[in-house]
């Protein structure tokens, strides 16, 4: 890194070569005036407002400080008479672009402050006439075109930073103007409401609706937390007034660099929603559990009465103690959530194993399960490479993932890389928005991933494009792989998948020949009865091409919830102990020594199996912390039946979830923004959070409630403080080696493993990754990587004459999982207020559907009502629904069949029909 020194306004500065004069000055504490610049990652200098012009010694012309790099021995005068005079006139010209009313509406804006600062005569060149009231048709953002000075920063936000490319700077000359798509309003446009434009607009022309009122709330304080809505782990700054979140802004986190998506921007109403649980509740004696009940929200509360914490905890613990003591711990099960903190997860699994004495502990990661096949192949249960490394990848293969909807900020990183030359190979039955950017878009038929990837692998092996050295030195199972893929010629795969053989061959070659290629996969791959096979096929393809262990080369399962990684690291699963330690004698002994008690035998049941066991009356007591199986599990009628059969159900949550309707005791928990702790994102970054707001009413942090129950079950002192819990977890989880609460407190976020070599040695040998983000340059934690054989299942319920359509489920951008949080956010619910059943456009017409007419969507398990919408991005014969709408819960329809390795249900394939009402 070369450093240059220069003088700005008489002050000597040194800056990294390439730094702009504006940034270098800011770093030195000099605040040069500017408008259309933004220092955040992804913003390129626009230099259109011309307010940052400075004089530079030896140059004839004034130069924009935002664009001019600091050069050695450069002398900059930002306050020379010439610069000051020019700037003032420029600001006066810009000021004339705003109408008088608009100035009044946005008197606190950055631009108005600049006008005062440069002592400009704001009305010297007159004012634009008031033409229109601000456009308030969009639920979250107000567009006030009379306040626009056409600086183009919003366009840069939309096109360059978030790469949504909805905002246009249309027209020319004086007619140039900000607009959306082809001259639409923001509400009519394809805007995805990330709010980036509103965050950066210097005049208030684009503003979050909460701020664009006549009397905007006076912000009391603001502080940062980590967004709870996906695994990207964006840091978000919450601005609080009167104990409520007024608005959220992207903060400069390691994963988001100030960006947010629609949920992170508008999703925080839930914190102070009136439905929040604020007191412990005990089921009324006159409210029996009825599996035919399908209650929501406030209706659930009618079944309960308030109680003191002591009474509720006693009742909660007593039910578990009686079952445990009479039937054994095996009759109990614990379901956690990947939405909690590492400390919550660690204490919950510790309580399950030591106090509940059960091995049946699992959490909602089970429903995603994108990582186990990776662990099977490499011995490592996290991404080998973070998302941002795609900038170094020549090629990225994405299978069954729609990050633009489910990980939007991660997608912005991916889209930026593609804009700068990374070639994208997209494999997805749904023609999602990234398909526009893909070099090869392979729109395969649902459920045919294995055939496609096998054929791609066969292309590279048969053409000699694979990495023979890598295969020889670092891979096991290659010969068996060759045998397995032999039948999958491109022509065979083409017939199965509906992708042309030529495309298959070209995509395979492109990937194999790349000097660095990354693989991403998501729920589209995993949520099948052959989900593990799908992922095994992706991993095998990547490994035979040697695409791992270099910058830009590696494997990235895009994880789901905000703390999936940490919850798994903490041991919140039935088949391993903390740190993915196998449940074998030696490892059990380690924890028995540490925790001073014996541990239950063997692997326990997984999420869906627990519910099946409850229905079979083998599991009789269940402790649900933060999960909502009554919306999330497949075949909800069966799930409700299981829940109703339980002798004792304790639900601990922030809202009365559909699951809580079957509870004996409901315990009110604090939300993530209301407490301290650590969370680990998909990129293996552990971040520290601190409370932004206090928990409402009597709500408490999850781990303290769990500890209180455990204490009543006879196990005291599970954990004392966040610090001691995290440090204990770090001491037993190898990948966290070298991490401590105090280190996190100092650094706020740390990517693990910080000592990759040591991190793995006590689980396995031969690991020498080196200190880098792309792991496994030399060896895998398990030594050689293993290409596993496939189990070979096909979709369990293919379409037939009775149910001729394929139903695929997923999520919409605005809603998070079962909707318990996001449906309670006004803007999000206004943007996506109802369940839509997406139908291929031709099918839509053939079936004579109308968007005005609700239809019944039926499978062998149930019927729901939804509004149909024609979607040309879907294949013929496929319908699609999001899972987040309680009034049209698509999991009433899904099939309860599991992948026999990952135990994930087949959410992405069952047969269905549509019946017009």
């Amino acid at each position: 890194m070369s450093v240059v020194t220069a003088v700005i306004d008489g002050i000597s500065i040194s800056a990294k070569k390439g730094t702009s004069v504006l940034r270098a000055a800011q770093a030195a504490g000099l605040n040069l005036p500017y408008l259309c610049a933004c220092e955040r990652e992804g913003y390129k200098p626009i230099a259109a407002c011309r307010t940052c012009l400075v004089e530079v010694g030896g140059r004839d012309e004034l130069v924009p400080a935002c664009r001019q790099p600091v050069e050695h021995d450069m002398v900059v005068y930002s306050e020379s008479e010439r610069a000051v005079q020019t700037r003032r006139v420029v600001v006066e010209l810009l000021s004339s672009e705003m109408s008088a009313e608009a100035v009044h509406r946005h008197s606190e804006s950055r631009f108005q402050k600049l006008i005062s600062r440069v002592e400009a005569d704001a009305t010297r060149f007159g004012r634009r006439a008031d033409t229109a009231e601000p456009d308030r048709r969009h639920p979250g953002i107000v567009v006030d075109s009379d306040a626009c000075i056409r600086c183009g920063l919003c366009r840069s936000a939309c096109q360059d930073v978030q790469v949504n490319s909805v905002i246009a700077l249309a027209g020319h000359g004086d007619g140039i103007h900000v607009t959306f798509d082809t001259g639409k309003t923001m509400a009519e446009s394809n805007c995805v409401t990330c709010g980036e434009c509103a965050q950066v607009c210097p005049t208030g022309a684009i503003k979050q609706a909460a701020l664009a009122t006549d009397t905007p709330a006076k912000i009391d304080h603001s502080s940062e937390t980590v967004c709870p809505f996906c695994s990207v782990g964006c840091r978000v700054n919450l601005n609080i007034a009167n104990d409520r979140v007024v608005y959220a802004e992207g903060a400069d986190g390691p994963a988001n660099h100030g960006r947010l998506c629609v949920k992170g921007r508008f999703g925080f109403d839930y914190l102070r929603h009136p439905d929040r649980l604020t007191v412990p509740l005990i089921r009324r004696d006159d409210a029996p559990k009825d599996p035919s009940h399908n209650l929501h929200g406030a209706d659930i509360l009618k079944l309960f009465r308030p109680a003191t914490w002591d009474e509720a905890l006693d009742r909660a613990a007593t039910g578990f103690r009686e079952l445990r003591d009479s039937l054994g711990g095996d009759s109990l099960a614990v379901l956690g959530s990947a939405k909690g903190s590492n400390e919550d997860a660690y204490i919950l699994q510790k309580a399950a194993r030591t106090a509940f004495r059960t091995a049946h502990i699992d959490h909602c990661t089970r429903l995603c399960s994108s990582v186990p096949p990776l662990a099977e192949a490499t011995g490592f249960s996290a991404v080998t490479i973070p998302i941002e490394q795609i900038a170094f990848a020549d090629v990225a293969l994405m299978v069954g993932s729609n990050p633009d909807v489910n990980h939007p900020v991660g997608a912005s990183v991916i889209k930026n890389a593609v804009r700068h030359g990374t070639k994208l190979i997209l494999v997805d039955p749904y023609q999602q928005s990234l398909s526009r950017l893909a070099t090869h878009y392979l729109q395969l038929s649902p459920g045919t991933d294995v055939a496609l990837l096998s054929a791609m692998t066969r292309v590279v092996t048969s053409e000699g494009l694979y990495d023979a050295d890598f295969v020889r030195q670092r891979l096991e199972g290659f010969d068996e792989l060759l045998e397995r893929i032999e039948p999958y010629t491109p022509d065979v795969a083409a017939a199965v998948c509906g992708v042309s053989a030529e495309t298959i061959v070209q995509a395979a070659r492109l990937f194999a020949k790349a000097s660095a290629a990354m693989c991403f996969w998501g729920m589209g791959a995993s949520q099948h009865v052959h989900g593990a096979d799908n992922i095994r096929a992706v991993i095998a393809f990547a490994l035979v091409c040697g695409q791992v262990g270099r910058p830009g080369a590696g494997l990235h399962p895009l994880r789901g919830q905000n703390n999936v990684q940490g919850s798994c690291d903490a041991g919140l699963g039935p088949s391993y102990l903390p740190g993915y330690r196998p449940i074998v004698e030696e490892q059990r002994a380690l924890f028995e020594g540490l925790w001073g008690t014996s541990l239950p035998e063997g692997p326990g049941l997984s999420t869906i199996e627990i519910m099946n066991a409850a229905r079979a009356r083998r599991v009789k007591g269940l402790y649900v912390v933060g999960g909502n199986p009554s919306m999330a599990n497949p075949d909800l009628a069966a799930t409700r039946e299981a829940l109703a059969k339980l002798d004792h159900l304790v639900v601990q949550d922030i809202f009365p979830t559909e699951t809580a309707a079957f509870a004996d005791v409901i315990l009110p928990a604090a939300a993530l923004a209301e407490r301290s702790g650590t969370v680990t994102n998909t990129d293996r970054i552990v971040q520290l959070v601190e409370p932004v707001l206090p928990p409402p009413g009597q709500a408490r942090e999850d781990w303290t409630i769990t500890s209180s129950i455990a204490e009543r079950l006879g196990v005291s002192s599970l954990g004392h403080t966040h610090e001691s819990i995290f440090d204990e977890m770090a001491s037993v989880v190898p990948v966290l080696n070298g991490l401590s609460w105090s280190k996190l407190k100092a650094e706020r976020h740390v990517r693990y493993p910080i000592h990759p070599a040591e991190a793995m040695t006590d689980v396995s040998s031969g690991f020498d990754a080196g200190l880098q983000d792309s792991l496994f340059a030399e060896a895998f934690p398990c030594g050689k990587a293993r290409i596993s054989p496939l189990h070979g299942l096909q979709p369990i319920e293919p379409p037939d004459a009775e149910f001729p359509l394929i139903l695929v489920t997923g999520r919409v951008r605005e809603h998070w999982h079962t909707g318990s949080m996001t449906r309670r956010a006004d803007v999000l619910d206004a943007l996506a207020p109802e369940a839509l059943v997406h139908v291929n456009s031709a099918d839509f017409d053939r079936l004579g559907l109308s968007a005005e007419q609700m239809v019944s969507v039926e499978t062998r398990r149930g019927v729901i009502s939804a509004r149909p919408v024609a979607d040309e991005k879907l294949q013929a014969g496929v319908i699609w629904m999001a899972m987040s709408f309680v009034e049209s819960a698509v999991n009433e329809l899904t099939i309860n069949k599991l992948d026999n390795y990952t135990r994930v249900p087949e959410y992405k394939f069952c047969s269905a029909r549509i019946v017009s009402a």
Binding site: A47, A48, C49, R50, L53, E61, L62, P64, R67, R82, Q85, T86, V89, V90, L93, S96, E97, F125, I149, R150, G152, Q159, N164, S165, V166, I167, A168, L169, A170, G171, H172, G173, D174, G175, I176, T179, F180, D181, T182, G183, N190, H273, D275, H296, R436, L437, R823, R824, D829, A830, P833, E834, S841, A851, E852, R867, V869, A870, V886, E887
Partner: protein
């Protein structure tokens, strides 16, 4: 929760007509689906359907894999595209709104005889054909370079010795530009800038109408010397009559395999003055709106698609041929430009026969141009001239009788050589306001001093409110991104004393 909102169901996109689909598919088959095909594809739709509908635009965007907004920006920043204007218009049907035509016909005339960029000048007769050009020795330098690559140095030396400078106004030495390009390495591109957008300027048009192959020859020589294998010919959209001429010429060069490894692409501009600014031109070719980019980096380092890019206008290429020995030919009037002291003036306004006038040397006064143009229109006395186009200089009648060399010594810039003659009864302030409003209309709109400043100055000149314009003029010339805004500022600064004198 779960309050029902009456949100309208998502609308389906408007669908293009079958005819539009055919036009688009044909254009895309020819031009490809990368972003740089965008503008030309839209102009193809315009040619066939009079304009571009939203449905057609969305269809093109989908094929080129652009977002609707990305395509819309280009469509609306390019007046030539006629976005959502579907009434069929013949090329040349458009009334000219330049100061010349408005001065002559008034603002409310329905007279369609005066047409944009044509300034009452009829097209010259047949352009010299490929065969005739070959017979006269054309393309021999190209052949020489291909057969004897070593001759490259010799020709380069001749270009250096010729001291030819660019003719787009700035006067940058051609040889220096080539050196910069070659020093940048990489895969260079040569662009012939034929977007002659300056008001009342038709010299490049005159050259192309008469001798198109001469320009192609010079572009090929430049490409061979600098190692470029791609040439773009960027033609002003209003010069629609030249489009087939150039297509034929390029086709003839290709069929004769004059330089088989060099590909010449003909592209049309978006129809605005700013499209001719070289960085805006490059943006336009890449499929972005024609908006200038800040320099540095200069196009010779980082131009079309980041490649080193050489941009000269038509006249510069034409004159270059002198360096490798092209001679003046009596039959080809414009060949007089091979005389380095010659200037091709575009004379228009209150004269009887407006047209191109070739003048050798600077010893004559500008008034001699009047004779060549058939003298003043009946009933008019000479009021003065506007020299150099929209951001040019207004000179008074007595200055028209001063030796040109002396005017230049006193700071007059000829710019593109346009000369608008006005009469004693024509209001100089009105003319100045017209010029300013041309700049206000034709700028790209991205930077504030130019976009707003040119509006303010046009309004102020029209209203006669001349106070406080000095620092506006200064801010425009100091702060604008490109030459348009800077020269608009200089024009304002220059015209203020003249107008105040009048008051």
């Amino acid at each position: 929760m779960a309050t029902k909102h009456n949100r309208p169901a998502p609308k389906r996109q408007p669908q293009p007509t079958p005819a539009e689909i055919i036009t688009v598919e044909e254009a895309v088959a020819r031009l490809g689906t990368s972003r740089d095909a965008l503008l030309e594809t839209l102009l193809n739709i315009r040619d066939a359907h009079g304009g571009v509908s939203e449905a057609a635009l969305l269809y093109v965007a989908r094929l080129l894999r652009l977002s609707p907004a990305e395509a819309y920006e280009v469509a609306t920043a390019s007046p030539a595209v006629n976005y959502e204007v579907t009434s069929r218009r013949q090329a040349g049907d458009v009334c000219c709104d330049s100061v010349v035509c408005v001065m002559l016909r008034g603002t409310d005339s329905g007279d369609h005889a005066f047409c944009k960029g044509h300034c009452r000048i009829a097209a010259t007769s047949q352009p010299r054909s490929f065969d005739a050009f070959r017979k006269a020795g054309g393309y021999t330098t190209v052949e020489q370079l291909l057969m004897f690559p070593a001759s490259r140095e010799e020709i380069l030396d001749r270009v250096a010795n010729s001291r030819i400078v660019g003719r787009a106004g700035v006067g940058y030495p051609v040889y220096q530009k080539w050196q910069n390009l070659m020093a940048a390495g990489g895969d260079p591109v040569v662009i012939v800038n034929a977007n002659e957008g300056e008001i009342a300027t038709f010299k490049d048009r005159t050259i192309l109408e008469s001798d198109p192959h001469a320009v192609l020859e010079a572009a090929l020589v430049a490409a061979l010397i600098t190692g470029a294998r791609t040439i773009f010919f960027y033609l002003k959209d209003d010069y629609s009559h030249l489009h087939p001429v150039l297509l034929n010429a390029i086709d003839a060069v290709a069929r004769a395999a004059i330089a088989p490894d060099i590909c010449i692409h003909l592209r049309r501009s978006g129809g605005a003055y700013i499209c001719g600014e070289e960085t805006a031109l490059i943006s336009s070719l890449e499929g972005y709106p024609a908006r200038p980019r800040e320099r540095p980096p200069f196009p010779t380092d980082h131009g079309y698609m980041g490649r080193p890019t050489l941009v000269h206008n038509v006249e510069t290429f034409y004159r270059l041929r002198a360096a490798w020995g092209a001679r003046m030919e009596p039959d080809i009037a414009v060949s007089g430009l091979l005389d380095p002291t010659a200037t091709l003036f575009s004379v228009s306004g209150r004269v009887r026969r407006p047209g191109p006038v070739l003048v050798s040397g600077m010893q004559q006064p500008l008034a001699t141009l009047l004779d060549a143009a058939g003298g003043l229109e009946d009933g008019h006395e000479l009021g003065g001239m506007v020299i150099g186009g929209s951001a040019g200089t207004i000179i008074r009648s007595h200055q028209c009788f001063v030796r040109l060399a002396d005017l230049i010594a006193n700071g007059l810039r000829l710019g593109t050589g346009s000369v608008i003659v006005f009469g004693a009864n024509d209001d100089k302030r009105w003319i100045a306001a017209q010029m300013a409003s041309f700049l206000a209309r034709e700028n790209c709109g991205q930077c504030s001093p130019c976009r707003i400043g040119s509006q303010m100055s046009a309004r102020a000149l029209a209203d006669g409110q001349l106070d406080g314009l000095d620092d506006l003029a200064s801010a425009m010339s100091e702060a604008s991104i490109c030459g348009l805004g800077k020269s608009a500022g200089r024009f304002l600064a220059g015209v203020l004393p003249l107008l105040r004198e009048n008051h």
